[in-house]
């Protein structure tokens, strides 16, 4: 029994695996997630109220996930804090004093607590990235993630004639979720050209066979799309959405490798909904608040874009801050199997588990395969640098504050507004309720900012908090579950395959 208190933030694939491994190593665990149930974006749960007869039909790898979920939540040393969010991390005076204090708003009604962990595992994931284009702010245009959430989480159909567009393999499960929820998917429009996709996916195919779960998953999606005769169009992008108060038609166009539009290739399609996703943006406010170093994304695609930074970790998933570990998409977008492996390593080491444990070798291998997969993903689906060519002067960049492309360009050219903070105050892009989570990467690219630092992710208030909640002093955390008998360390789950599709 290590007796260490490990706080895990995020209960998606990475966080759940971290909690599982930390419990196996003998730690006390507090697992925090903003949702009602674990699963994160990946295993988005059907709310219990819907009494789904067979959630497995909608959920990939649901059973293994469910086993792990029950094991963790039912564990006597685990405190499960559902519907809770970390609104601030407070660095201590010296890094030697341990990981930051964790300020949490817990449950409904929300109560304010402060946790003082021995180790902190951040597994907060990513949210989808959407590049702006004329009309992207029309009702009926959804982020791919939101459309999937509506389809899977609430079984709401976003439209009858839907196009799914953007880049990356995530478009495929989104399209299948829409089909299963009853939408007609007219096409999946992938901006990456066949050559890039082939370069990413077909080179050294034996690497992919080691990543069985992932490629098997993709094959099954592709098969399902095929059954529904949904065309998968590569090298095209949605460059405009039009409609009177709501999207009615979209313009797709052929794009070159840098995503510049091939003139004359435009094609108009009537739709009643459009789902777009251009990859993912890691949620970095908590790592930044903890003081973790960031790194530019590996691989050619993202190099140089201020939008692509991740938390820097070593082979043990340690960040640059003592006692702070990171796992999952915030260290690189590599999919659920790699996130699970990273989580298990992070949880085990954070709990003080034996570094010689045999399972770590398997987990490490799985994680490395996941990272190789991530590199391929980046290679196959890079965001082309010429996408701003789609924009018009009046295209809205920041939806919260309705800042236009012209305003961002004006400020970028102003010698007195070279500072991102000053430009932000001038254009107001990023000052609205989403606090630049959506437009931040876009604005950084448009400004051709060379700032790859923490700046855009600096949000000392990581989650909105009511003044009344903030004004009250924190309450002592409810008693943590204490083990009836001393815990005996077991081993971390050494096979991430247990959790993958089978």
């Amino acid at each position: 029994m290590t007796g260490r208190h490990v706080v895990v933030v995020g209960a998606g694939p990475a966080g759940l695996a971290a909690a599982d491994a930390a419990l196996a190593a003998g730690a006390e665990v507090t697992l925090i997630d903003s949702a009602e149930r674990p699963g994160g974006q990946y295993h988005r749960m059907l709310p219990e109220a819907y009494e789904a007869t067979d959630p497995g039909a909608l959920q990939h790898g649901y059973r293994s996930f469910d086993r792990r979920s029950r094991r963790v939540l039912g564990h006597p040393r685990c405190s499960w804090w559902a519907e809770s969010s970390v609104w601030a991390l407070e660095r201590r005076d010296s890094a030697d004093d341990g990981p930051p204090l964790v300020h949490v708003l817990r449950g409904t009604p929300r109560r304010r607590h402060v946790l003082e962990p021995d180790a902190l595992v951040l597994a907060v994931g990513a949210h989808d990235r959407v590049l702006p284009f004329p009309g992207w702010d029309l009702p009926g245009v959804y982020t791919a993630g939101a459309a999937q959430a509506l389809a899977k989480g609430e079984r709401v159909v976003v439209g009858d004639r839907v196009v799914v567009a953007g880049t990356g393999p995530f478009l495929l499960p989104v399209a299948t979720s829409l089909l299963e929820a009853g939408s007609r998917v007219l096409a999946v429009v992938e901006a990456a050209g066949p050559a890039a996709v082939a370069r990413g996916w077909l080179r050294r195919p034996w690497e992919l066979t080691s990543q069985l779960g992932k490629s098997g998953e993709l094959l099954s999606y592709t098969a399902r799309l095929g059954r529904h005769r949904v065309p998968y169009r590569m090298g095209r992008a949605v460059v405009e959405a039009r409609g009177d108060g709501r999207v009615e038609e979209i313009v797709t166009a052929r794009v070159r490798a840098d995503w510049s539009v091939v003139p004359g290739s435009e094609h108009v399609t009537a739709v009643d909904a459009l789902c777009v996703g251009h990859g993912f943006t890691p949620q970095l406010e908590l790592p930044v608040a903890a003081g973790c170093d960031l790194r530019p994304a590996a691989g050619g695609s993202a190099a140089g874009s201020p939008a692509d930074v991740f938390v820097s970790v070593d082979d043990d998933q340690r960040t640059s801050r003592p006692g702070v570990y990171a796992a999952g998409e915030i260290t690189g977008v590599a999919g659920a199997p790699a996130a699970r492996a990273e989580g298990a390593v992070a949880g085990w080491i954070a709990a003080g588990g034996d570094r010689g444990a045999r399972a770590l070798v398997t987990l490490g291998r799985s994680r490395d395969q996941g990272r190789a997969f991530a590199a391929r993903l980046a290679l196959a689906h890079p965001v082309g640098r010429a996408w701003p060519g789609w924009l018009r002067p009046d295209t809205v960049i920041c939806r919260c504050e309705e800042t236009t492309y012209a305003a961002v360009c004006r400020s970028a050219a102003d010698p007195t507004r070279t500072e991102p903070q000053v430009a932000k105050l001038a254009t107001r892009a990023g000052l609205g309720p989403c606090q630049a989570r959506v437009c931040g990467p876009t604005v950084a690219e448009l400004r051709r900012s060379t700032d790859q630092g923490a700046g855009p992710h600096h949000r000392p208030v990581a989650e909105p908090i009511r003044l009344g909640e903030l004004a009250r002093p924190p309450e002592p955390p409810p008693g943590r579950a204490t083990p009836a008998t001393p815990a005996t360390p077991s081993t971390p789950t050494d096979s991430p395959a247990e959790e993958s599709t089978s």
Binding site: L425, P433, P460, I465, R466, L467
Partner: protein, 412 residues
């Protein structure tokens, strides 16, 4: 035309105002900043232009001069530039209301306002009905209130960039990313500053580096006791109109004068054009430790709710903090440094720099050209014990009214 070469160190609001004033007067002006314009203190404050928080004395005179100049400066800008640029200043002469919520607070506030009136400040006591119609959401628990029609607000980074852009139009140059590393003297005179990109020569150097001006002075070989003091501001999500003036509380009469390093908070509540409500303020002496502490945010929230209890359900979506240039005797430092000919200072405004910037720039120009200054500038002179590193004082300056001191210092 005076083609004296002036290098201004620091492109915050003070440096921007000085650059504009001197460039318009014909000086050959170069502004250096180690980062970008308005990057630090200026863009991390509230944007206060206040007369309400200053008792009779030199700082009030500077505030009154500045308050007279702001509309003139904006009118001049309107003639020379685009409406958008002037609009970005977000000038709002909304007036301030100081509210006491205890008997002690009222006893201190009313005589203080009377003394301000004697010094020419418009300060009108409000009865409860007038207060309710001016601020319908204010707490019912109030014991006195004074309306200051001349208090105003700007968006501080917008104000600084507008002043700087006007300076550039008048011929000034801006070099960002240039940190001053040291000085070069000939005889006893400062003739150049060293940067990583080489030396920059000039006839006059104006240290306008805000909280870092102590460090700049040290690098140039003359100590200057300017210290950083941290302040934090909370920002709510946009609301329908709820707060109509700059409203702050007067209830720390007895609390001030305690150790200046301790956390002190006082409620300053106001809305912005975007509909957000800004909640200040705090002051802490923590060096350049830039951590935003939840306990500080909590204290600010608690104080603000005492004034506006109905805001309890409103979400805070953002918090920011910055360092203010603090001088132990609470007076700005404006003028030539007698220890090093060629070096001037325009710093030490603590939390009042946005408001005081244009008056400070006017004094710098008048002192540099040998014109009779608009107000007596001698209280701001460099060679006074508090500035040259005399024994540290923790008591408030006699001219600094206890009830408003925290606002003055950390408001913007």
């Amino acid at each position: 035309m005076d083609r004296t070469r002036v290098v201004i160190i620091g492109a915050g609001i003070i440096g921007a105002a000085c650059a504009r004033e001197l460039a318009l007067a014909g000086f050959d002006v170069l502004v250096l900043d180690r980062a970008g314009a308005a990057a630090a203190t200026t863009s991390h404050g509230e944007g206060n232009i206040l007369v309400s928080d200053k008792g009779p004395g030199p700082e009030l005179e500077l505030a009154q001069l500045s308050r007279r100049l702001w509309p003139e400066v904006l009118a001049a800008l309107t003639e020379r530039t685009s409406p958008e640029e002037v609009d970005a200043v977000e000038w709002d002469p909304k007036g301030g209301i100081v509210v006491a919520t205890t008997a002690g607070g009222a006893e201190a506030l009313l005589p203080f306002a009377a003394a301000q009136r004697a010094a020419g400040v418009r300060a009108e006591a409000m009865d409860s009905d007038a207060l309710t119609s001016a601020e319908p959401f204010l707490t019912e628990r109030r014991t006195a209130a004074v309306h200051y029609p001349d208090d105003a607000q700007v968006q501080p980074a917008g104000a600084a960039t507008a002043l700087l852009a006007d300076a550039l139009r008048a011929g000034a140059r801006l070099r960002t990313g240039r940190e001053v590393l040291g000085g070069v003297t000939r005889g006893s005179r400062l003739t150049a500053v060293r940067t990583a990109d080489g030396q920059v020569e000039a006839d006059v150097f104006v240290n306008a580096a805000g909280p870092w001006s102590g460090e700049v002075a040290r690098r140039l070989g003359v100590p200057l006791d300017i210290r950083p003091r941290r302040g934090e501001v909370l920002v709510t999500t946009p609301l329908p109109p709820t707060v109509f003036h700059k409203v702050y509380d007067a209830d720390y009469v007895g609390a001030v004068g305690s150790g200046a390093g301790d956390l002190q908070t006082s409620a300053v509540v106001e809305s912005t054009r975007a509909g957000t409500v800004l909640l200040g303020s705090s002051r802490r002496r923590v060096g350049f430790d830039d951590r935003t502490r939840p306990e500080v945010l909590s204290a600010i929230a608690a104080k603000a709710l005492k004034l506006f209890p109905s805001l309890a359900g409103v979400h805070v979506m953002r918090a920011y903090g910055g360092f203010r240039p603090y001088v132990p005797d609470h007076l700005p430092v404006i003028g030539a440094d007698p220890r090093l000919p060629g070096l001037w200072h325009a710093t030490g405004h603590e939390g009042a720099g946005i408001g005081l910037s244009v008056g400070t720039a006017r004094l710098v120009r008048e002192l540099l050209t040998g014109t009779a200054p608009a107000i007596d500038a001698s209280p701001f002179r460099v060679d006074r014990p508090a500035v040259l590193g005399g024994p540290p004082t923790v008591t408030e300056a006699p001219n600094s009214p206890p009830h408003t001191a925290p606002t003055t210092e950390e408001g913007p």
